[in-house]
Amino acid sequence: MSEQSDLPELGLVSLLRFAWRQLTSMRTALILLLLLGVASIPGSLIPQRPQNPMKVQDYFTNNPTLAAWMNKFSLFDVFGSPWFSAIYILLFISLIGCVLPRTFDHLRASRALPPLTPANLDRMEFFQTWEGDGSELAQSRKWLEAKRFRIREFEGSISAEKGYLRETGNLFFHLALILILVGVSLGALFGMKGEAIVNVGDRFTNTPTTYDSLSYGKLFRDQSLSPFVITVDNFIAKYDPATNAPEDYTLNVSVVSKPGATKVKRIIKVNAPLQFGSTNVYLQANGYSPVVTVRDKSGAIVLQGPIPFLPQDANLTSIGAIKVPDSNPQLGFVASFLPTAARDKVRGGFSIYPEALDPKLLFSVWTGNLGLDSGIPQSVYRIDTSKMKKIGLESLTLGQTYKFSEGSISFDGVTPWVNLQVVRDPGKMYSLAGGILAILGLLGSLFTRRRRIWIRMLANGKVEVAGLAKSGVPGLENEIALLVADLKKDGK
């Protein structure tokens, strides 16, 4: 009876122990590593929501049923999926379960002396023996000490060991991987990321409402936003006239890092963000905002200022929407902007150079209901014309005005805009430290050979030398040959 009641408990404990041993075994680590690699592959071949939401949407429109199925398996967000997380969490549990005991063993081993010289050296590798003159033990001790072997002398023999750095480096490497994971998690939990389009001449204040898009880590608080204000003074883009490719972007800004601080001038470049503690401000994209004035029938101004347009190609042919909700009836201009205008029969108007050398604003004029208060968020670059009527079509060069039945629009100027990306990542220094440690650990581990050398003086005056290289790495043979040559030379 007692047998019956004992069995399940024993079974559970030993089952757990068995599972733990399995999980922390080398074979499992290898399988999990391979799985991690293979599991990443779909993430690079299937469009991913965090990287490319538009492409995912296209996928849904083109293959609705297939996409729905793929969505069930998180195939559009592989790196945030439960199965991907399961793999790396198991891997890291296995890693900790494997590395911690090894760390303790290693600490113990590095304080201990090398093991005793084995009884039969002639069974070991690289065995040599010769007629000595008695000085060999002291001689080899000197030689081995100079090479920084750990030495244990015992009853006419020396046991020397070197290469503990191999294990130390390996442990550091694996522990550093944990540090990288910690850094990544901190960034995901306490970080934030936002983007804002700012016209040259305008000011950006770091508060949630000034962003066009903003996302927070799960544990981020609003008040963690650094209270800086950036004024965009000017933006210079240089292009190569031969290829139209951009050569250099320079953004000049004035910065007030916190309320009451003095204003300072700064430069932001593509590879040189502005830093406020762990918050960085990046120059991500740029384009043009045509400056327009729209008047109603009475001549009163209903809209004035720069309107950011969205670039469509390398020459900054841009599309945009000028929405005038305050006129009666509402007005909308579906527009494109060409910094250096050209036209042909196939494409219509397009830009042939990214600088605003010969700017042109093309648009159709619509009147009716813009649908702005329908509750559905609208793109600022597009107009829903389903409840509107087209009443005009025109293209303007700089300074020109177009009059239509409901009012007029003038094309007054062009202002560049820049897209500022604000990122706070409090974990990145941990990841960086982890990365550096990982490399140092690897170098220590992969370039150190762990090996033992033994010397014994026999009663009959013979000297015996042998060695052992862990995991069969080559090189020990030469080392022993050098030692033996040294002993024989000095002995003579």
Binding site: M26, R27, A29, L30, L33, L34, L36, G37, S40, I41, G43, S44, L45, P47, Q48, P50, Q51, N52, K55, V78, F79, V184, K193, D240, A242, T243, A245, P246, E247, D248, Y249, K269, V270, N271, A272, P273, N280, Y282, Q284, Q421, V423, D425, K428, S431, L432, G435, I436, A438, I439, L442, L443, L446, S471, P474
Partner: protein
């Protein structure tokens, strides 16, 4: 010299390097083919056969081999000069598009071979190495060629120099390790059918090949780790995040994990031979896939192929 004459010079140097590699290829092929008929034993043991058989021996083959290696070195130097003058013509490091990545990659590959040659008996590898280099350079000048031009702003960073040079050097060694692993598999299947063919008898034993590809991988794995981390640091500078699972980053990660698995398999689970060679080939292919497929057909932020 003007920028365009540097660009012309660079092209001529790359063409001449190809010419010299072709000579190296023929010399290696000659050496390998010749060895087939080399006498196996002492003088006069093989009496049947033609006069030629008697007069041929390893010392003559040795000469062809030395000439082949000399051509490899000359090709390396010419290509090196070609890459440098390409850089001068553009006024920057020569790593701005896929043509430039490819010629530098070919340079790294032959460089890895020549360095490994100093330490190991690897001359026999010259044949596949010269074929690969010719293929890479041939594709580069025909399909990938772009006129020399300045860099786009995102590439203007000293991290470009650090990250790309580390990645290209790693690639060169990975390719070499792959060539050796492939040779292992080929010779292994030959041995399974019986004895090695005559020409292959000169090549090292399977154990040596197995060790060699492991040593190469163990040697570059830290460098590749560094290349990935340098890339992450650069991405942080340019795009505001150090890791974003962009396709290129994802494949760099896959390559890293695959080689980590390879090292694990060898060191801890004790894989040797065929299994290890296949894993090595798989890991190397992920690197090539990243380079070729993601650069040309991939999407994402890393679109610097210039195609």
């Amino acid at each position: 010299m003007t920028h365009s004459s540097w660009a012309y010079l660079s092209n001529y140097l790359v063409y001449s390097a190809m010419g010299v590699y072709t000579l190296a290829f023929f010399a290696h092929a000659y050496e390998t083919a010749w060895a087939v008929r080399a006498p196996q034993g002492k003088e006069g043991e093989r009496t049947e056969g033609s006069l030629m058989v008697k007069t041929l021996d390893y010392t003559r083959t040795e000469k062809a081999g030395r000439i082949a290696t000399a051509f490899m070195i000359l090709g390396f130097l010419l290509l090196f000069a070609g890459v440098i003058s390409r850089g001068i013509s553009a006024g920057r490091v020569p790593w701005g598009n896929m043509y430039e990545f490819s010629i530098t990659g070919a340079l790294a590959f032959t460089g890895a071979y020549l360095i490994a040659l100093r330490k190991y008996d690897l001359r026999w590898l010259g044949l596949p190495v010269s074929i690969f280099v010719l293929l890479i350079l041939g594709t580069a000048i025909t399909v990938l060629y772009r006129p020399s031009a300045p860099l786009v702003p995102a590439l203007k960073s000293y991290w470009l120099v650090i990250h790309v040079s580390a990645a290209i050097m790693s690639g060169g060694v990975f390719l070499l390790a792959n060539t050796i692993a492939a040779a292992y598999l080929y010779l292994d299947s030959m041995e399974q059918k019986g004895e090695r063919k005559e020409w292959a008898k000169r090549l090292p034993s399977l154990e040596v090949l197995d060790q060699l590809s492991y040593r190469l991988v163990a040697f570059v794995f830290p460098l590749w780790t560094f290349a990935v981390i340098a890339g992450a640091i650069w991405a942080e500078h340019a795009w505001g995040r150090y890791w974003g699972w962009d396709p290129k980053e994802t494949w760099a990660f896959i390559t890293w994990v695959a080689y980590a698995a390879y090292l694990h398999a060898r060191v801890t689970v004790g894989w040797r031979g065929r299994k290890a060679a296949w894993l090595c080939l798989f890991a190397g292919s992920t690197f090539l896939f990243n380079y070729i497929y993601i650069n040309i057909w991939g999407t994402g932020k890393h679109t610097y192929s210039g195609l």
